[in-house]
């Protein structure tokens, strides 16, 4: 029986191995045929003309993710601080489950909310600069909301894990409650905070449906935050339905690039967490 459990445990090893094998086996040949340079750094994506450069999508993913973190992380950190140090017991019993529920809302619902509310809103705001509703900014704003529960969920326990003596020490030196939290407790929790941010980064970069619903999805180099863009994830979903031959393989190769990004992010996360335990 022990061996049955062991085999079950090996399931995750097998899964990761299979995912790697299938993605790489189907994606690498296309990269080779297109040329790694042309594929990764090419600024033109024209499947009709057999031109497959995904640089615009890489840049698009980076822009959207970066902007989303810039907007979402400060709110997430402050909210986590609120939950850990400012929240009255009664409010906590409402706020905490509410934030956990946020993590459960499907991405299509977020996306639909984006279409219905954020897109018109951003269109109005950016009218003066000739902005569009479906834009980098809209996608980033939506992602910023979507990563909140993930990031808060990691940072709050990290803040709580800081020994109370740090806080009390600062208080005893005459610092206010706020100063003690921000200048004594937060620095001590920095690796946990970093882990939260990196996890949010992974979530934002991998998010697909919500982003394609509001990002505009034009496969070209970004022209400003209020203009449309296509991300790596979007590229796969939008064209996979009708792609054949090299085009299809190029989309799978896009998946490989995305997968590589995610693996790097995961590795960074592991390193941060390992450092934490030491």
């Amino acid at each position: 029986m022990e061996i049955v459990f062991l085999l079950a445990a090996c399931m995750s090893i097998a899964s990761v191995a299979l995912i790697c094998i299938f993605l790489f086996a189907n994606g690498l040949p296309a990269m080779k045929e297109i040329g790694l340079d042309n594929f990764l750094l090419g600024r033109m994506w024209k499947p009709g003309a057999d031109i497959y450069g995904i640089f615009p999508m890489i840049v698009g993913s980076v822009y959207v993710t970066g902007l989303a973190l810039a907007m979402g992380v400060p709110v997430a950190i402050l909210t986590a601080v609120y939950l850990a140090f400012f929240c009255p017991q009664k409010a906590y019993r409402v706020v905490k489950p509410a934030i956990e529920l946020m993590a459960g809302i499907p991405s299509v619902v977020y996306g639909f909310f984006g279409i219905a509310v954020l897109v018109p809103l951003v269109r109005t705001i950016s009218e003066s600069v000739n902005g569009r509703g479906n834009s980098i900014f809209t996608a980033a704003l939506l992602l910023a909301v979507m990563i909140l529960p993930t990031v808060i969920g990691v940072i709050e326990p990290a803040l709580r894990a800081v020994p109370r003596s740090y806080y009390e020490g600062a208080l005893a030196l005459g610092a206010t409650h706020e100063r003690s939290v921000f200048f004594a407790v937060m620095p001590a929790a920095k690796s946990g905070i970093l882990a939260g941010i990196v996890l949010g980064l992974g979530r934002a970069m991998g998010e697909t449906m919500a982003v394609i619903m509001v990002a505009g999805n034009q496969a070209r180099m970004p022209k400003g935050v209020f203009q449309g863009i296509r991300t790596l994830t979007g590229n796969i979903v939008i064209e996979m339905g009708y792609a054949t031959g090299l085009h299809r393989e190029a989309l799978i190769a896009t998946g490989v690039v995305l997968f590589a990004f995610i693996l790097i992010i995961n590795m960074a996360l592991t390193l941060i967490q390992r450092g934490e335990h030491r």
Partner: protein, 289 residues
């Protein structure tokens, strides 16, 4: 006397700055929490307010047509898909967790590898699962667009979630239960199945319910594995799910009212599932006391 006065004045200026900083921090913290809660509240309220008036009986017709935009086939498929995915994932997830907490020697190479790959799995975005599912199940295993193909994909996707929650639930079972059982002459297997697993059940269940929530809300992993045919589907047929159905309605832009209605059903369903999961997890804590 004069110097003392000056000193206190300088001191109080410093203190004022000191306190102004603290006030600002206090304000920022409360503002951020308010933003978080308000966004969530607004989102839920908006979907409910716009969606509920659009709920019509015709949206729940057994047959989907482009006129009635019925979501019933998608709901039925969602149930089927959830059932099959859990059937595939739960035995492996729970078995793996039993191995890791009850049998495996901590820190052995294999254990570390299992833990590392599990963490990797939980970080992989659903579109990558979708791509993999399409390549392996639809193409290589020639299942084509089918519920089975989608369920296999989802099973791998929820595996790390079930493993992690089960592991947590098992480690929360006090060692004195295990000792008590061994002390009565029960073997390892009997101890695991008759003492440890039953006491960990609420925790495991809460993880399974959480997994149901993820399955119900999933789209990207299913678009190219189970496909989007809006019909009640069997194991080998292509069939759309509720979330995917809603995505079509929303992105085509022709059926926005119906999309509101579908999204309110989806949202309420997922929120209920998550609430249920939290309630079950609490049962676990109560059993302890």
């Amino acid at each position: 006397m004069k110097t003392l006065c000056r000193y206190t004045r300088r001191m109080s200026a410093f203190l004022r700055r000191h306190y102004v900083g603290s006030r600002l921090m206090n304000f920022a913290v409360h503002a951020a929490a308010a933003v978080t809660v308000l966004v969530l509240g607004f989102l839920v309220a908006y979907i409910v307010v716009r969606g509920v008036p659009n709920l019509k009986p015709s949206l729940f017709a057994l047959q989907y047509t482009s006129d009635n935009q019925s979501m019933l086939p998608a709901i039925i498929n969602t149930c089927t898909m959830t059932f099959i995915s859990l059937l595939l994932a739960v035995p492996f997830g729970v078995g793996a967790a039993i191995d890791l907490t009850e049998y495996a020697r901590r820190g052995s190479r294999l254990t570390r590898l299992v833990q590392m790959t599990t963490q990797t799995l939980s970080g992989i975005p659903s579109i990558v699962y979708g791509l993999f599912g399409m390549l392996m199940f639809n193409n290589a295993l020639q299942l084509g667009y089918s519920m089975l193909s989608g369920a296999l994909t989802l099973a791998i996707m929820i595996l790390p979630l079930i493993m992690r929650t089960t592991q947590e639930a098992l480690s929360a079972v006090p060692d004195m239960y295990r000792e008590g059982s061994f002390g009565l002459g029960a073997g390892k297997l009997r101890t695991v199945f008759f003492v440890v697993l039953p006491s960990a059940m609420p925790g495991i269940l809460s993880g399974v319910i959480l997994a149901i929530g993820r399955i119900v809300g999933e789209t990207a992993a299913l678009m190219y594995t189970s496909g989007t045919v809006a019909k009640v589907a069997g194991l080998m047929d292509s069939g759309t799910m509720l979330a995917l159905h809603m995505y079509k309605q929303a992105s085509e832009g022709l059926y926005l009212n119906e999309a509101y209605a579908t999204s309110v059903v989806l949202l309420v369903l997922v929120l209920l599932i998550n609430l249920l999961s939290a309630k079950t997890a609490k049962l676990m804590m109560k059993g302890r006391g």
